[in-house]
């Protein structure tokens, strides 16, 4: 087909540019499991831009039950919203550690998202085949922490970091987090999302407000499983004591309360010795986009006859400042000089006492005659 023929569709990029596309399914390509059971994932090729993509849309079967429809559309919205936020938060320099939203189509009836195809295979699949090699272990750890810092900086909470959503590319030794169908913005009231042990208890119970440190909990477990082969999902308490290498890294992460956990930035810096890749956080320039997104979503729900979103997103307070890491004690105690001796005062008192005692003795002597 020639590029001069009429395009068959349009999509919006995360920067709100309208892009024509001609999407052709690739039947011989394995799409992998869709990130959400109510979504379908179809490998396609954009013949205009000559690139392979992944088309994410609502499963037609999901239309049968209203509650499934609502969940399906929410999942797709989350994927789009998170992808947009990451693209804008990273200002176009999309990190390899996170899946990339190429664009989306916002038709209320048939919305879809276009993603770059995944790199590598899920950690869950890799774990059934082998353990990470020595060099891969460090790359995996650093890649995961880097991804978390970027998510934190963009104000995105993934809420579904598991071995199924963390991919590892064996060829170039890189990690990629995918599956943002449960993602939301930090500060949003929590809803009950996820399952143990990957989700923190606050996330499972839906209490408080979403915090990037929720993802830190999940990532800590994923990291432990990746580096030790321990099946975190099948057992109880992690045997950290059997892995002294990992204990200093994970103890500050696997703290029960999110407010008491370390941050991704601090963990990344302490572990790698490098500054976080993104600084400055998300500017307020995303706020209008966020508001527009919420309006559009409400409108779509109204058109589709779906009930309003239960977790009405109101701007909440920013997540509480993280507990400062207890700095290691200073290496050197301050050398204090000796206190100024009260030598003169001491001598004075002694001499006074001696004088008094001498006088008393002389008096005694005179008395005794």
């Amino acid at each position: 087909m020639s590029d001069t023929s009429e395009p068959q569709g349009l999509y919006l990029t995360p920067f709100h540019e309208t892009v024509p596309c001609r999407l052709v399914p690739l039947p011989d390509t394995d799409p992998g499991d869709p990130p959400h059971p109510l979504l379908t994932c179809v490998p396609v090729r954009d013949e205009i831009r000559r690139c392979d993509l992944l088309l994410l849309s609502v499963d037609p079967d999901a239309h049968r039950r209203p509650q499934d429809r609502a969940k399906a559309y929410t999942a797709l919205d989350n994927e789009i919203a998170a992808g947009t936020r990451i693209a804008r938060g990273t200002r176009g320099a999309h990190p390899r550690e996170l899946s990339r939203l190429v664009g989306h189509h916002d038709d209320p009836e048939r919305p879809f998202a276009l993603l770059e195809p995944p790199r590598g295979i899920p950690l869950s699949a890799l774990s059934t085949r082998r353990r990470l090699f020595e060099e891969e272990r460090l790359l995996f750890r650093d890649g995961l922490l880097r991804a978390l810092t970027i998510l934190d900086s963009c104000g995105v909470v993934h809420r579904d970091i598991t071995p199924d959503t963390v991919y590892w590319d064996e060829r170039d030794g890189t990690l990629q987090i995918r599956g943002f169908t449960e993602a939301t913005v930090a500060g949003t009231p929590r809803t009950a999302v996820g399952t143990a042990p990957w989700s923190s208890h606050e996330q499972r119970e839906g209490t408080g407000r979403c915090d990037p440190r929720d993802d830190l909990w999940s990532a800590g477990l994923v990291l432990f499983q990746a580096l030790t082969g321990y099946d975190a999902a099948g057992h109880g308490v992690l045997p950290l004591q059997d892995h002294p290498d990992l204990e200093p890294l994970l103890l500050p992460v696997l703290v029960r309360a999110a407010e008491e956990r370390t941050t991704a930035d601090a963990l990344f810096t302490r572990t790698t010795g490098e500054p976080p890749p993104l600084t400055g956080g998300v500017d307020g320039h995303l706020a209008p986009g966020r508001a527009r997104f919420l309006r559009d979503r409400a409108h779509k729900r109204e058109v589709l006859g779906l009930p309003p979103d239960e977790a009405e997103e109101r701007p909440g307070p920013a997540p509480t400042e993280p507990a400062t890491d207890s700095d290691p004690p200073p290496e050197y105690t301050t050398v204090t000089g000796p206190a100024t001796p009260a030598t003169a005062r001491s001598w004075g008192r002694i001499l006074l006492l001696l004088a008094a005692l001498t006088a008393a003795t002389v008096a005694l002597f005179i008395y005794l005659g």
Partner: protein, 796 residues
């Protein structure tokens, strides 16, 4: 199998020739030269050109033709004959077996062995022919048929079979294989796999086994940068100790101020100690962050000793691991158990990252030790109550006993002098402490002693030989000397105790400990990091490969039908085959790892290789049978896949005399065409090679017949009887024209007896077939006429 099969039963002459040329003509692959042809009696003669193609194409050296169907009628005399083409004559290595009826009948040459249908035979299924074909594709049997055909008249015979299958049925084999696969791929705990077995081992193997015990490192820091910092720490500590020793001496009390030691000496030693620890931490951090190829250079720059394990050490460790894995698999440990062992071994051998090393460094020189030196506590002065109080009391008392003014004066002098000296000493030792309470107590007690002396002097008058002034002077001198000695002794004890409490000894020990730790870390971790990484990755690759093999075998088990019943012996043999198959699949990986090439996609490669091996093995089990070892089997000894009962049955069949009733592949009305000379009957006894160790050993109680042919495949045990045809039954035609008259192959026959009955044979009608040896027939023998009557059908 080395015998190829060609079926011409449904081919017209042109098609037969074309097929022969296409499969065995010039340019086709060379095979073993053995060909089994299936043909029909009514088409045989017409396939002359085809047989010419076969026997002149250079691809067929030996040919056995099984011609099926009833005899044809000769055109000239109407007799029933077997008409064959000229190329199948007797001057080549060609044998012809005539199967008059594919179903066959149970029959023996003795008159009492009347023909009867074999029980269980389904008419028309030609089971007998199929069994004969299965048998003739065995190279050993094929060769024997060719050999014996040279002894047969016209090189033609009618075959008879006596077969038994001592092995298990196909269903039983499948059941055993399914069960063996399931058990082999089931989860299993990690076995105990000691590697060293008493051999001299290196650190890598000790770490693998988890038996490594850290040796005591040397406290020699070498000659590099580390040595400089270590030496500075030691020098500072030694210098402070020397100062303290001097300060504790009588002369040192005057020259060496404890305040200097407190403010400068000890803190300097503390800083030197902290600096040494920091340098070691920096070294540890840097070593773990450097690429492997730069680690040793960095360690050399720091002067850290130790030698890295060589590539040979790593290879030796890998060899040991490979050997133990193979041994365990062959002993029956399921792969999952071995996988768990490999994963744990990889964790043990993998080099540690920085945090545990830093904590070990800080254990050797803890923060509290550095703090104790950098912020030292001053010497602890004596308390208010101390033995010094006695001197404070007695000296003035002794002086006051002189009495009078002189006694008072000397007593006051001694009391004041004691207090002043004490105060001076306390201020020098602990200038920051408030010692008024102590000196005050001594002042009070001193003057109390003075007062007591004065009181006593009024009551007691001591005899003096000196005038009071001189006596007072003497008392002063003695008292001063005594008091001075007491105070100096107390001073020395105070400084000595201070030195003990100042942690200098502990600091010096800590320096040595840290140096030993550096040496230990260098030899066991830093220098070994490259080798350990390579070994850990190699073991992980092996684990991945074994996982792939187990996954593939598990999938194979799922594709097979569920197990039913089977002999336990058979399952045991198949289980051992699976272990051998696994070790064979792993062998390629070990070779790659030994060469130092990292095996990244060990899972994928192992999956590919095991799939091929599994397919080949399944094919072997189905085609060749489980009784024959597969190609990858490296085990010696008997494959005990048979039950005793089946072995007895097999041996009984193997010993079946040729003249006994067995399945003769012809019709009852075709028996008159068979020769009556039983001495010309030949038999081939055969059995699978897997039975040879049961039967063919010097100590076997029931040995097999000596001329038994042991086949490398197949499952049958039995006898193939080759019954020659009556003279004149076989006619040869050299052209492919239909209906041409042919001449009989044999000369005129001897006369017949009365009533058309045949004359009795000159030999016994029931002859015992030779049992010894195999007949070494000449290359192109022509069998002598057997003396049987001419070609007539005879009523029997």
């Amino acid at each position: 199998m080395n015998v190829r099969l060609l079926d011409l039963r449904d081919s017209d002459p042109a098609h037969a020739k074309e097929t022969a040329r296409a499969r065995f003509g010039t340019g086709t692959p060379l095979g073993s030269g053995r060909l089994l042809v299936l043909d029909r009696t009514d088409l045989l003669a017409g396939h002359t050109r085809a047989y010419e193609e076969l026997l002149t194409g250079g691809r067929v050296r030996w040919l056995v033709c099984v011609v099926c169907g009833p005899p044809v009628t000769a055109d000239d005399d109407g007799r029933r004959i077997l008409l064959r083409p000229g190329p199948l004559g007797t001057d080549r290595d060609v044998a012809t077996l005539w199967v008059g009826d594919g179903d066959g009948m149970e029959w023996g040459p003795r008159p009492s062995d009347l023909p009867r249908t074999r029980p269980g035979t389904t008419p028309g299924d030609h089971r007998g022919l199929k069994d004969l074909t299965d048998l003739l594709v065995r190279e050993e049997v094929f060769d024997r048929v060719i050999e014996i055909s040279r002894e047969l008249p016209d090189a033609v015979a009618a075959p008879g079979l006596s077969l038994t299958d001592p092995g298990s049925s196909t269903d039983a084999v499948t059941s055993a294989l399914t069960r063996a696969l399931r058990r082999f791929t089931a989860p299993a705990p990690a076995p105990d796999m000691p590697l060293s077995a008493g051999r001299s081992t290196g650190i890598l193997i000790d770490l693998l086994e988890g038996t490594h015990r850290s040796a005591f490192g040397t406290d020699d820091p070498g000659n590099g940068e580390l040595a400089r910092h270590e030496a500075r720490a030691r020098d500072e500590i030694a210098g402070v100790r020397d100062l303290m020793t001097m300060a504790a001496s009588p002369l040192g009390a005057a020259h060496t101020s404890p305040a200097t030691i407190l403010e400068e000496g000890l803190p300097q030693a503390g800083r030197a100690l902290a600096d040494y620890r920091t340098r070691v931490e920096q070294l540890a951090t840097r070593v773990h962050s450097l690429p492997d190829e730069r680690v040793h250079g960095e360690l050399d720059r720091w002067g850290v000793g130790g030698l890295p394990p060589s590539d040979e050490d790593v290879t030796e460790a890998l060899d040991l691991v490979a050997d133990r894995v193979e041994t365990r698999l062959r002993q029956g440990t399921p792969p999952h158990g071995v996988i768990t062992w490999l994963d744990r071994a990889a964790e043990r051998i993998a080099p540690r990252t920085t945090p545990p090393t830093l904590s070990r460094i800080r254990e050797r020189i803890p923060d509290r030790l550095i703090a104790a030196l950098e912020s030292p506590a001053p010497p602890t002065p004596p308390g208010i109550v101390s033995p010094l109080l006695a001197a404070a009391f007695l000296l003035p008392l002794a002086a006051a006993l002189i009495g009078g003014v002189w006694g008072l004066a000397s007593g006051i002098a001694l009391a004041v002098g004691w207090v002043c000296a004490l105060t001076l000493g306390l201020h020098r030792a602990a200038p920051t402490r408030d010692t008024f309470a102590v000196t005050g107590a001594h002042a009070l007690l001193g003057f109390t002693g003075l007062a007591a002396g004065l009181l006593l002097s009024t009551v007691i008058t001591l005899p003096t030989w000196l005038p009071p002034p001189l006596a007072a002077l003497m008392v002063l001198i003695v008292g001063t000397i005594t008091g001075g000695l007491v105070l100096l002794t107390a001073w020395s004890a105070l400084i000595t105790r201070w030195r003990r409490e100042s942690a200098l000894d502990e600091a010096e020990t800590a320096v040595g400990d840290l140096t030993r730790l550096v040496d230990l870390l260098a030899r066991e971790e830093w220098r070994t990091v490259t080798g350990r990484r390579r070994l850990a990755d190699g073991i992980r690759a092996a684990s991945a490969a074994l996982r792939a093999i187990s996954d593939s075998l598990a999938e194979t088990a799922r594709d097979l039908p569920p197990p039913t019943t089977h002999p336990a012996e058979l399952e045991a043999v198949l289980s051992r085959d699976l272990a051998d198959l696994t070790t064979t699949a792993l062998s390629g990986l070990w070779n790659v790892l030994r060469s130092g090439i990292p095996a990244q996609d060990a899972y994928g490669h192992a999956r590919s290789s095991i799939t091929e091996l599994i397919d080949a093995y399944l094919d072997h089990v189905q085609q060749v049978g489980p009784h024959t070892p597969p190609d990858f089997s490296r085990r010696d000894g008997t494959r005990r896949t048979y039950r005793a009962f089946d072995l007895e049955r097999a041996l009984h069949t193997l010993r079946t005399p040729a003249h006994e009733r067995m399945l003769q592949l012809c019709d009852p009305d075709q028996t008159p065409l068979l020769s009556t000379a039983l001495t010309t009957v030949r038999e081939i006894r055969f059995a699978p090679l897997g039975l040879r160790d049961h039967f063919d050993t010097p100590t076997a109680q029931d040995p097999a017949p000596k001329n038994t042919v042991w086949t490398h495949g197949g499952r049958w045990v039995g006898v193939l009887r080759l019954f020659p045809l009556r003279t004149g039954t076989v006619r040869t035609r050299w052209d492919d024209t239909a209906g041409a008259d042919t001449a009989p192959d044999t000369p005129a026959s001897p006369p017949t007896g009365p009533y058309g009955m045949r004359m009795a044979d000159t030999e016994d009608t029931v002859a015992t077939p030779p049992e010894d040896g195999t007949a070494a027939a000449p290359a192109h023998p022509r069998p002598a006429p057997d003396g049987t009557p001419p070609e007539e059908d005879y009523f029997r």
